[in-house]
Structures are given as C-alpha cells and as structure tokens.
Symmetry: C2
Subunit: 209 residues, 2 copies
DNA sequence: TGTACATCAGTGAACGCGCGTTCACTGATGTAC
DNA sequence: TGTACATCAGTGAACGCGCGTTCACTGATGTAC
C-alpha cells in the first residue's frame, strides 16, 4: 500500500501493463471525455511513468486503436447476443439496432473513439470485411434469416448498410434534448430506440426481394 | 502588399474581422482537419494577432459555435433546394437525404464540428426546435407532402427522426473503403447514396399511416 | 468646420500549462552453462 | 543448484512545442460641442 494509486504493493514489473493501459484509457475516456485523453494521463491513471506506455505501444495512436478494437469486440458481442435472444428473425433486426444504440449510450466516449479511428482509416476495422464473424456480417445474415434473397448480393449489402447507418445515426443523436418528450411518451429510452427501428421498417425491407 | 498574408494592404481596422475569422476557421478545418484547429492558427490564417479574435468571440468555443452555425445554415439551404427541385414528394425524401450526405461529403470537417458542438450541447442547434424554417421541420413537412397523416404527430416525429439518423449515419461512413465496390457498381457516390435511401424506403414509411 | 476626447479594434509580448516523445538509467527476470 | 549475463520493462528528468488567454499598449474612428 505504499503507492497511492494501486491497491496492491505494485511490483516493479507490472505483469500486464498493456491490458492495464487499455483499461485505464477506457476509464478515463468515459470519465473525462475524449478530449481529456492524453498518453500522460493514461500512464498516470495506470500508476506508471509517462514513458512506460512506449514499451507497449508505438505511440498514442496505437493505444487509441487498441481501445477502439476492444470496443468493436464488445459491440460484436452485444449484437450477437441480441440476435440470439430475439423471438423471430424480423424482430432480430430491430433488436440488434436497439442493442447497438444501447451499447453506444453506455460507452459514449469509447464509441466515439471507435468511429474517430474508423473515419481516420476510412474503413470499418479489419474485422468487418473478410471476417464472417464480424458484426456487419451478422446483420447481413439476419436479413437472410428474415427472408432476404441471399443471391441478390447488392440488395443485401444495401439493406445492411442502410440498417447500420440508421443505428449509427441514432446512436450519435440519442441524447439530444429534442427527443426527450418522445422518450417520455414511449416509456423510456430503449422503447424510443425500438420505435425508431420499427418505424424504419427494417424487417419490411426484406419483403421487397 | 506589404503583408505576406493579405492580398490588399490591410488597414489597422479590419472591417469585418468576425466574418474573416469564421471563414479562416472553415478554410483551416477543411485543409488541416478538426484537430489542427486552434484559435492561434485561425488568427494566423486571418493575418491577425493571436489576441485579436477575443474582440469578437468570448473564447475558442464561441468561434467554433459560430462556424457550426454557419454550417447549419448551409445545410438548411441544401435541403430546401433538394426539396424544391424533386419531381414528387416521395422523391423529395430520398433527394433530401442525398443532398444531406453530399453536403457532409463536401464539407467533412465543418460537418464534424457541427455535430461535435451539437453533441456537447446534447441538442440540435436552436434553429431545429421551435423554428418552422429549420431543416428538421422541412423533412417532417416533406413526409406530410408525401402522404403522412399530419395529425399523427408521434409517428411523424419518429419517421423524421429515422430519416435524419439514416442520413447522418451514411454521411459519417460515406468514405469507408468497404463501400467502394458498391459505388463502382452503382455508377458513382451519389448513386450509392440514392440507392441506400431507396432501399430504406423512406417514402414507404408514410404508406403505413 | 475644427477640435477634444471616449471608445473601439487592433498589437505583440508574456504567462503557465500539459502535451508527446526521447534519453540514459536501473531493477527484475529468465536462461545457458 | 549456482552463477553470469542478456534481455526486458520499468523510471524520472528533460526536450521543445503550440496552445488559450491576459495584459498594457496604441492606432483609428466617430461623436459632442
């Protein structure tokens, strides 16, 4: 207990500083917001000298990418869960959307970092493209489950894109004051998200095929 | 021509420094990206001392808000134009979306600032709420033009929200590499945007009423 | 029309700050023999 | 099992930097008389 930061008497060698730095960054992000995130602050939060992170990350950007990657993994999980628990494939489309927006609401700063780094790279993270386990492919496959023709690849991609963009847009505006009365009228934030997706009629999209 | 920055021999009193600072900020944003935007850089770009902006803006935040406000005005205009030029009200819903995303594509950094400040305030800019001329209201009224029941206020708001969120989402992801093959297949970026909105079936939403 | 003076809109130097990163270093660990 | 030594993962001081903002100032403008 000789160190004010760490609960345990921290050994000279940390054990898993990489992990600890990512966690510290996540904590700081949610507590102070993205603009407050400096490498020095992360090191401070992890109870380590400002130079220590350089043994685990090339630079600040690489740490941020790691945080974003962690976020995408969590989001993948939330989407998979929503899909698995939905009563019908058509429901699953809405419920995946709800889960997506809820994730963004619960981790707003990490969500922001996820998209900031994605925008910088002008691409979804690697996992989304070739990876059949990616969240993007899960959404696409849910359209197929709901009756979309798997052979009409282009239509399928457009549907998936449309659904994904809607969810992202809603995630970014979810906290706007202008929506408060809708949330109240519908009985809560989650109900509001669900109503928007139902209104979009994602399930109806597959009927066009 | 004694000053390297300004083309004219600049008088001691600028004339309209407020305007010039907003323009300089917009220029810098698009040229260098949002992270490069400092008050000092804006003053430099405008050919003025670092302290000069403080006669026109309380602080950096107030300048950014002014830039964002300018952006919203431009976006309003683009939406009004798209609505006016569309062949039918149903088309207008798609074309407003296309115009929206194109605006974001043409002014990516300003668009980002617009939403960053909006998110910080947790609200659309003032114009969107009570103001019947706001872009948001224009979209809502286009749904009515297209056949939505103006008395079902809640449904109407949900439709407008759904459309708006879709457009924002697409705007933020428009440049992702993963969409390149769709753009190519469809014959260009604008065609891709249009296809996504058609796929969303915004016009079909009003048919549910 | 002329002049005194208040006000306005700039200047440029300075402040303290936290940042990302580098450096020479040192303590801890693990491995070859 | 012990020991020499290479390697690893930290330290903490220092670097230069650009930032937002403040300050006392000064040149330009406009207005009252």
């Amino acid at each position: 207990m000789r160190d004010s930061q760490a609960a345990e008497a921290r050994p000279y060698h940390h054990g898993d500083l990489r992990r600890a730095l990512i966690d510290a960054a996540s904590r700081l992000l949610e507590a102070e917001g993205p603009s407050a995130l400096s490498l020095r602050a992360v090191a401070r939060e992890a109870g380590v000298s400002p130079a220590a992170p350089y043994h685990h990350f090339k630079d600040k950007g690489e740490l941020l990418e790691a945080v974003a990657g962690e976020g995408w993994t969590l989001l993948d999980g939330a989407i998979a869960k929503a899909r698995a628990e939905a009563a019908t494939p058509a429901d699953a489309l809405d419920e995946i959307g709800v889960a997506y927006v809820c994730f963004a609401r619960e981790n707003p700063a990490i969500y922001r970092v996820m998209y900031d780094t994605a925008r910088d790279k002008e691409a979804f993270p690697d996992g989304m493209e070739g990876n059949e386990d990616s969240a993007y492919c899960k959404v696409r496959d849910t359209f197929i489950d709901a009756g979309a023709n798997p052979n009409e690849v282009q239509e399928l991609e457009l549907s998936t894109t449309a659904a994904w963009c809607s969810a992202h847009g809603l995630a970014e505006m979810a906290n706007f004051k202008q929506f408060q009365h809708l949330k109240d009228a519908l009985g809560g934030e989650t109900a509001f998200f669900r109503a928007v997706f139902k209104r979009l009629g994602l399930a109806a999209i597959r009927a066009q095929d």
